[in-house]
């Protein structure tokens, strides 16, 4: 497993303020596959991506990408490392002062000395791949949510990275653009041989494309396996999440006094 995995997360701890976000997370993300990291909202899935991308430093444990400890790299080496990574942000994070074309060209201009004509070809190729070649002159404010995310995807793969991190790619999308995105992620993965990490809590879509799934909750990995094996997982917490049941080990109610006491007790007081 180690030989074929691109990213290794070992015994990762992370605290923010007084809250423990992660208490010993171990992940191994295989090369060339789509790995999903799932979990309820507020379990720090986005934080995990930021830890992998080296934007946050863990309080203990380490993250290895291709054998390099991300948090031990110098600033320069880290920026070099990030060249090999693409990240798709939840909001798309397109630069609002640049056109669609310039957004996709941005990583190319930063990291390469390609002549303008070559930049143009590459950008149009990437935009064609996400079906937005015709939208190249629009500004980000003129795009719909789904288009924004597709442009962001084109930008994330502009440099042909080895690893691409998707932060909640399906949130807030209508069914059509959701389907488009699912298909795009799968196609890009196969066509470019990418290693993909998808962080999401949209179970159906994520399970349909993932090769391997980690379920993260309460600061640790609660379950992992292939989508098929998770579907029949016996652990009640995992099955509640995977099947989307409203009540179970993760309670519907925020912790409170007994309902009966709360209502009647007030009158007595």
């Amino acid at each position: 497993m180690t030989a074929s995995s691109l990213v290794e997360v070992e015994n990762l701890h992370f605290t923010r303020g007084d809250r423990d976000i992660f208490r010993g997370v171990d992940l191994s993300i295989p090369r060339g596959k789509i790995t999903a990291i799932m979990g309820p909202s507020g379990t720090g899935k986005t934080t995990l991506l930021k830890l992998i991308g080296g934007q946050l430093a863990p309080s203990a444990g380490r993250v290895l990408i291709d054998g390099h400890d991300v948090h031990r790299l110098s600033r320069k080496d880290l920026f070099q490392m990030r060249r090999r990574m693409g990240m798709l942000f939840q909001s798309g994070a397109l630069f609002s002062d640049l056109s669609v074309f310039e957004n996709v060209a941005f990583p190319l201009r930063v990291h390469t000395d390609l002549p303008e004509s070559m930049v143009r070809d590459v950008v149009l190729m990437k935009l064609e791949a996400v079906g937005l070649r015709g939208a190249r002159d629009l500004m980000p404010s003129e795009l719909s949510g789904g288009m924004t995310r597709r442009v962001a995807l084109a930008r994330a793969v502009a440099l042909d990275p080895e690893l691409i991190l998707y932060d909640e790619p399906f949130v807030g999308q209508d069914p059509i653009s959701m389907g488009v995105l699912v298909q795009l992620i799968r196609r890009l993965n196969q066509a470019l041989g990418l290693t993909s990490v998808v962080v999401s809590h949209d179970i159906k879509e994520t399970l349909s494309i993932a090769d391997y799934v980690y379920v993260v909750a309460d600061g640790r990995v609660m379950a992992h396996g292939t989508p098929a094996s998770l579907d029949v997982e016996q652990d009640p917490r995992v099955s509640q999440f995977v099947h989307g049941e409203p009540d179970g080990p993760v309670p519907f109610h925020y912790p409170a006094n007994d309902f009966y006491d709360d209502i009647l007790g007030q009158e007595e007081a």
Binding site: Q55, M87, A93
Partner: protein, 260 residues
């Protein structure tokens, strides 16, 4: 009691930490290696920060010059010294009013816009994504804005002075009938190029640095929510106004107060 003292101590530590962070932030962005397209980014920011503030600065300058002439005339005429009107208007503008008022207007017009813009970039993860692409947002986003502010405000201050002196001329000479020759002549006799104009420009350079620094840092350091952005925008205007007025006292004492 002990709880209070320790809270005070914690406040002090927080404050020191914020000042340190802001200092590092300034050093990294102003003196870092500029990124590609540096000049055109800078030009775009001079447009946003300088050219778009021009109207409010010039209109205010005109009115302040006119009011100065009107007020000054009613006082000076009692001493039979209405000829000194040009001297009074020009010195008041060049030394004090133009740098300070232009900086305050600049903080309100351009500073708050800078904070909101950078804050919005932070809230929509543009800064993070830029970092992931491998570009330091301090150099690409912050540095051109800092330098644009640093250049724009002194130019705006010069414009403020020119228009203000012209406004004083309109009221004093054209309306109240001060002799034109003594308006300009007394002005030329008493205004020193380096002492008055130069010091005014030095003042406005310092104000430019402080105001844009506060604005950009508040934007960069805010909590990325809509509430955070609106609070940071308010803080920019309040902090930079206070900083400008306080710094003005110090600079005036050093430049004109015989303290040097």
């Amino acid at each position: 009691m002990i709880e209070r003292i320790s809270r005070l101590g914690r406040r002090g530590c927080d404050l020191l930490e914020a000042v340190g962070r802001a200092g590092l932030f300034l050093a990294q962005s102003m003196f870092g290696r500029p990124t590609m397209g540096g000049i055109s980014l800078w030009i775009a920011q001079v447009y946003m920060v300088g050219v778009l503030s021009l109207a409010i600065i010039l209109v205010s300058g005109l009115f302040i010059g006119m009011v100065l002439a009107l007020q000054g005339y009613t006082i000076l005429v009692d001493f039979g010294a209405a000829d000194a009107l040009g001297q009074m208007v020009s010195l008041a503008l060049l030394r004090e009013l133009a740098p300070v008022v232009a900086a305050l207007l600049f903080a309100g017009r351009a500073g708050s816009a800078l904070t909101a813009e950078i804050g919005l970039m932070k809230a929509t993860e543009q800064l993070t994504s830029m970092e992931m692409i491998g570009v330091d947002p301090l150099r690409r986003i912050v540095a051109p804005r800092l330098w644009a502010g640093f250049v724009s405000l002194p130019l705006l201050t010069i414009g403020f002075s020119v228009v203000g002196i012209y406004g004083g001329y309109l009221v004093g000479v054209e309306w109240l009938g001060v002799f034109e020759g003594s308006y300009w002549g007394n002005m030329q006799a008493s205004v020193g190029f380096f002492n008055d104009i130069g010091n005014g420009i030095v003042k406005s350079l310092m104000f430019a640095l402080v105001v844009t620094w506060i604005a950009v840092f508040q934007g960069y350091d805010l909590i990325p929510t809509s509430e955070g952005i609106s609070r940071a925008t308010t803080r920019t205007v309040v902090y930079s106004s206070l900083a400008v007025l306080g710094l003005d006292f110090v600079l005036t004492a050093v430049m004109f107060g015989g303290l040097s």
